[in-house]
């Protein structure tokens, strides 16, 4: 078997190439992110977390939602080491991660991680939120090795 590749620093994708769109169900999440406040969609009736935000609670069908402020920390559930910037195909080391969010059991975010070499990212690694300004004045939650 071949040796693991030495990739070097895991970089965030440049914010200026990232766009999002919102709808009334998802906008509170992104408005909170603008204020550098990490939240997740929680059912106002039964407390179940769901991400992405959606109109109904899949557990109890309630439309009531809460947007609690989360600690902003989490754990890497899985990751991929990518080596090309999707915007232009140029060599670029970035690591998409699936993050289990502390304080919101069952809720995950997909983001980039930085603050370490790509080859050092691992499942179970603790991370803390880091905010990236993207197009149209929105702010994207990414993560840094804690």
């Amino acid at each position: 078997m071949s040796q693991p590749t030495k990739y070097g620093p895991a970089k965030l994708l440049p914010g200026e190439q990232i766009r999002i769109t919102t709808n009334p169900n998802t906008e509170p999440f992104w408005e909170a992110a603008k204020a550098h406040r990490l939240t997740a969609c929680q059912c106002g009736a039964c407390g179940h977390f769901r991400m992405p935000p959606s109109p109904y609670c899949p557990e109890c069908s309630s439309t009531d939602v809460l947007w609690p402020e989360l600690p902003g920390t989490g754990t890497v559930f899985s990751y991929v080491v990518c080596n090309k910037n999707p915007a232009n195909g140029e060599e670029y080391i970035y690591v998409p991660i699936v993050v289990d969010l502390d304080g919101a059991p069952g809720a995950r975010l997909n983001a980039n991680v930085t603050g370490c070499n790509a080859e050092d990212v691992h499942i179970g690694m603790k991370v803390a939120v880091e905010w990236t300004e993207i197009q149209d004045g929105w702010v994207l939650p990414n993560f840094r090795k804690a």
Binding site: P52, V81, P96
Partner: protein, 405 residues
């Protein structure tokens, strides 16, 4: 309990165009290729195009990634006098073999007499799948995925693969074995895109596109079309070939898989799976059969690790044991004995999406038909049962068991 529609319908005709490397089919149009596949399937069945009165699509009637089939347009160019069944499964390639169950429903319901299932794929530069995912501003839902740079299906599949490696100690050697074992089945196939035998050294040297997945773990990108015709058993007896009997068929899945790698919210053990456990359990319940009753398994192989995870979900081995199962040679086809190796069930005797061609699952149905007819190029001796799977992708995924008549 046996499936209510067990052995009531059969696939009686298969047809395909040449398989072109992505983008090379131009100046043919997508309806030109779809028409060729449908007309060839009619000729194979020994019926007239005028007999076709049903359309059973999957992938939301998609023709590739951006084009759509339209029954009226196909009637207009091919001249079917009337149509009395026109329906599709939703989502994408996961529904491919499930479309045969949909056809069966239309036939048993006496809505139609001969139903065609067709897929055509043409990737002109603006239609490239990675571009489809990555070019425009994401939907509100996809705004929780795409900004992370997870823009191609290989990125997404890699995320599931990494979790499987973490939980079960699965190795890239197993992915290499899947590619090499199925490549070995393509060398004698005139239409296969990748025929040359593949060594482990060549596999290990393949460029890493989305670590842990290499270029050779990704399926081909192919242009072309494939069509199959399903009819009732009484009509099937009058067709040219031995019927490939629809013995069991299921589509769907469970919420824990849901949108799958477009979501990434799947709890363990669903995350590091193929999402096929639900339909696998259904076809086994419908048929009273188990994985090792299959003579051949045609397993949707858009990415090599998803073959391993389907082997687990269908019960060819226990969950988490796919690595050892694959590395013990059990997915290989042995030409000398026309059977399996080391007690295994041969997988993708046609070379699969990884080596022969990728027409979003249809080539697996064609191979299943040829195996139970007894006319396959890499024939399994006395093949009675063939498993065909579709997906893994956003639900529905689907499963089909064909039986020799």
């Amino acid at each position: 309990m046996a499936w209510a529609n067990q052995d009531k319908a059969a696939i009686v005709g298969v047809g395909a165009t040449d398989y072109y490397v992505r983008g090379k089919s131009w100046p043919r149009t997508i309806n030109d290729m779809a028409g060729e596949a449908i007309l060839k399937a009619c000729a194979d069945a020994g019926i007239s195009i005028k007999d076709i009165d049903g359309f059973s699509y999957y992938s939301t009637a998609g023709a590739g990634y951006l084009d759509k089939f339209d029954t009226a347009s196909l009637m207009e160019t091919l001249g079917m006098p009337n149509v009395s069944f026109s329906a599709t499964l939703t989502s994408g390639g996961g529904g491919c073999p499930g479309a045969i169950g949909l056809a069966t429903a239309g036939l048993v319901n006496e809505d139609c007499k001969y139903a065609v299932t067709v897929m055509a794929l043409q990737q002109l530069p603006q239609h490239r799948l990675g571009v489809v995912f990555g070019a425009s501003a994401p939907s509100p839902e996809n705004s929780f995925l795409q900004p992370s740079g997870l823009v191609g299906p290989g990125h997404l599949m890699s995320m599931l693969t990494r979790r499987h490696m973490h939980l079960y100690g699965t190795t890239q050697d197993a992915f290499g074995e899947i590619v090499m074992a199925t490549r070995a089945n393509a060398h004698n196939r005139p239409k296969a895109v990748r025929k040359a035998p593949l060594s482990k050294e060549e596999y290990d040297a393949s460029v890493m596109l989305a670590d842990p997945l290499r270029r050779l773990d990704f399926c081909l990108e192919t242009d072309g079309a494939v069509a199959v015709i399903t009819t009732t058993m009484d009509r099937a007896k009058d067709c040219r070939h031995k019927p490939a009997v629809v013995h069991a068929c299921a589509h769907g899945g469970q919420r824990e898989w849901g949108r799958a790698f477009a979501w990434m919210g799947m709890p363990d053990p669903h995350f590091a799976s193929s999402g096929h456990k639900f339909t696998a359990d259904r076809v086994w319940a419908q048929s009273g059969l188990k994985a090792h009753d299959m003579d051949v398994a045609l397993i949707y192989d858009h990415f090599s690790p998803m073959v391993l995870m389907q082997l687990e979900d269908y019960g060819f081995c226990e969950k988490g044991e796919g690595n050892d199962y694959v590395l013990s040679g059990k997915i290989r086809y042995d030409a000398a004995s026309q059977g399996g190796v080391n007690g295994g069930v041969p997988v993708n005797t046609h070379g699969g999406n990884l080596n022969e061609a990728y027409i979003i699952g249809m080539t697996h149905i064609v191979e299943g038909v040829e195996q139970v007819r007894g006319t396959a190029i890499n024939q399994i001796k006395d093949a009675e049962f063939a498993l065909v799977s579709g997906g893994p992708a956003s639900l529905p995924v689907s499963s089909l068991i064909l039986r020799s008549a």
